[in-house]
């Protein structure tokens, strides 16, 4: 057995007598004492190493199981996340209207069509209003003509009336000869009165028509004078808003799709990590194998030690190999492990051991920087 850098000095105290017929050799009590000391420490060390290996294997197993469980939760959460994102992606590009999912781009086209129709209605309305304005302009002129014509009738009627009056005067002068003519003149006067009355009634009606036309014209002017161009130009703003809305939604959708695929990737990566955790199983089996061979070595050593002790006089005791022990102890830099090793070497087989001191867990003992006086 060799140890890095610190091989203990085993000085042979005697040379074997090669000529012994029983096959026995002479060994100095000093060498035997040293060997028994080594054997004792070696056996205990093997025990410690076995315990440490088993402890390490258990530690790795516990940690691996814990990690696997946590990764499994992580994988489930990642899966849930990707499902949630997928749900959002499914509805992101649509709008619910009257219990119907309408795709946003379809909605936008529909609304733009509506506004286009509205603008085109405004244009048609404006054109008709202006046609009406021009028509009523003409009607106004005609009505003025009509008023003038009624005035003309009055003039003619006054002349007719005057003429009839003259005829009556002339008929009375003519005496008996003009009697029938006087009757005609009288009839002409009646006719003139009737025409006058008719003209009067027409004037009153025409005045009403003129008033109506002027009112209508004024209302129409107000309608036509209401500028709808800002409402028409509102289409520009609505179009821009709609385009921006569609663009933004498309962007959101693509970001969400990426997020969903990343979540799915995470989920499958975690699944692979969990599979990778199975290395622990193999490690455990290897450590068990090593521990089994160590147990066989330990048992062999134990048996050999027993046989030798039986043949050696009780006056020869085992000598603790202090230098070797120190070198061994320096290997255990982990304080907790060092503590367990020290306890095992020092206390095993003593009265304290029987009182169960070795069973006490030393994992939390704070001996990291403390000096341990062994011998």
């Amino acid at each position: 057995m060799s140890f890095d850098g610190a091989t203990p000095h085993l000085t042979p105290a005697a040379t074997p007598a090669a000529d012994d017929p029983k096959g026995t050799v002479t060994v100095s009590s000093d060498l035997l004492s040293t060997w028994m000391g080594f054997a004792d420490v070696q056996r205990r060390t093997l025990g410690v190493v076995q315990t440490e290996l088993a402890r390490t294997s258990q530690h790795v197993e516990d940690a691996t199981l814990d990690l696997s469980a946590r990764f499994r939760i992580l994988a489930e959460k990642a899966m849930e996340q990707s499902e949630r994102v997928a749900q959002i992606v499914a509805v992101a590009g649509t709008v619910r209207i009257d219990d119907e999912q309408v795709p946003l781009d379809q909605l936008v086209v529909g609304m733009q069509d509506m506004i286009t129709d509205m603008v085109s209605n405004i244009v048609t309305l404006s054109r008709h209003a202006m046609s009406m304005v021009y028509l009523l302009d003409d009607v106004q002129k005609d009505v003025v003509e009509l008023e003038k014509s009624i005035g003309d009738i009055d003039v003619i009627n006054r002349q007719t009336n005057f003429l009839a009056l003259n005829a009556t005067i002339e008929a009375s002068r003519a005496g008996e000869a003009g009697r029938t003519f006087a009757v005609v003149a009288q009839e002409v006067r009646h006719l003139s009165h009737s025409t006058g009355d008719l003209a009067k009634r027409m004037r009153s009606k025409i005045t009403a028509v003129v008033k109506g036309v002027r009112n209508g014209h004024e209302i129409l002017r107000q309608i036509a004078n209401t500028d709808m161009s800002p409402q028409m130009l509102a289409k520009e703003r609505v179009d821009k808003t709609m385009d921006s809305l569609v663009e933004q939604t498309t962007h959101f959708q693509s970001v969400l799709e990426t997020a969903a695929s990343v979540s799915a990737d995470m989920s499958s990566t975690i699944a692979r990590v969990i599979t990778g955790m199975q290395f622990q199983d193999l490690t455990k089996q290897r450590i068990e194998g090593i521990n089994d061979s160590l147990a066989i070595m330990s048992a062999g050593l134990d048996e050999l030690e027993g046989q030798i002790r039986a043949e050696v006089p009780s006056s020869i005791g085992a000598r603790e190999p202090q230098e070797w022990l120190n070198s061994l102890l320096n290997r255990f830099t982990l304080s907790e492990m060092r503590g367990r090793f020290v306890r095992k070497l020092l206390l095993e087989g003593t009265a304290l051991d029987e009182n169960g001191v070795l069973d006490v867990d030393v994992s939390h003992s704070d001996s990291a920087g403390g000096d341990i006086e062994l011998f």
Partner: protein
């Protein structure tokens, strides 16, 4: 709004200036009359100096177009800028009247 007519080879170009609104309806009717009397087959309304048109103005431009069609003439709206161009575009006047830049 005011206007000036420029007679060229095959077309008469009318340059409209300022704002074309409802208040100009009598003036525009007179202009339509002049355009009908004009010999040129192609009647161009140069809108490059027109700053503003209201919905009544759009209606009047369409009436002008109808009158030209009735007189077997072609109406062209040329060089609209700013608000005038925007309104003509939004109202899709290009579908009815020839529009030139």
């Amino acid at each position: 709004m005011d206007y000036g007519i420029e007679q060229r080879d095959q077309e008469a170009a009318v340059r409209l200036r300022g704002r074309l609104t409802f208040n100009d309806h009598a003036k525009l009717r007179a202009l339509i009359g002049e355009m009908k009397q004009n010999k040129a087959k192609r009647q161009v309304l140069d809108l490059s100096s027109l700053e503003f048109v209201d919905s009544a103005g759009i209606g009047m431009l369409l009436i002008a177009r109808e009158e030209m069609v009735a007189a077997t003439k072609e109406l062209v709206l040329r060089g609209a800028v700013g608000q005038v161009k925007r309104v003509l575009t939004v109202a899709q006047i290009g579908k009815i009247v020839t529009i030139e830049d």
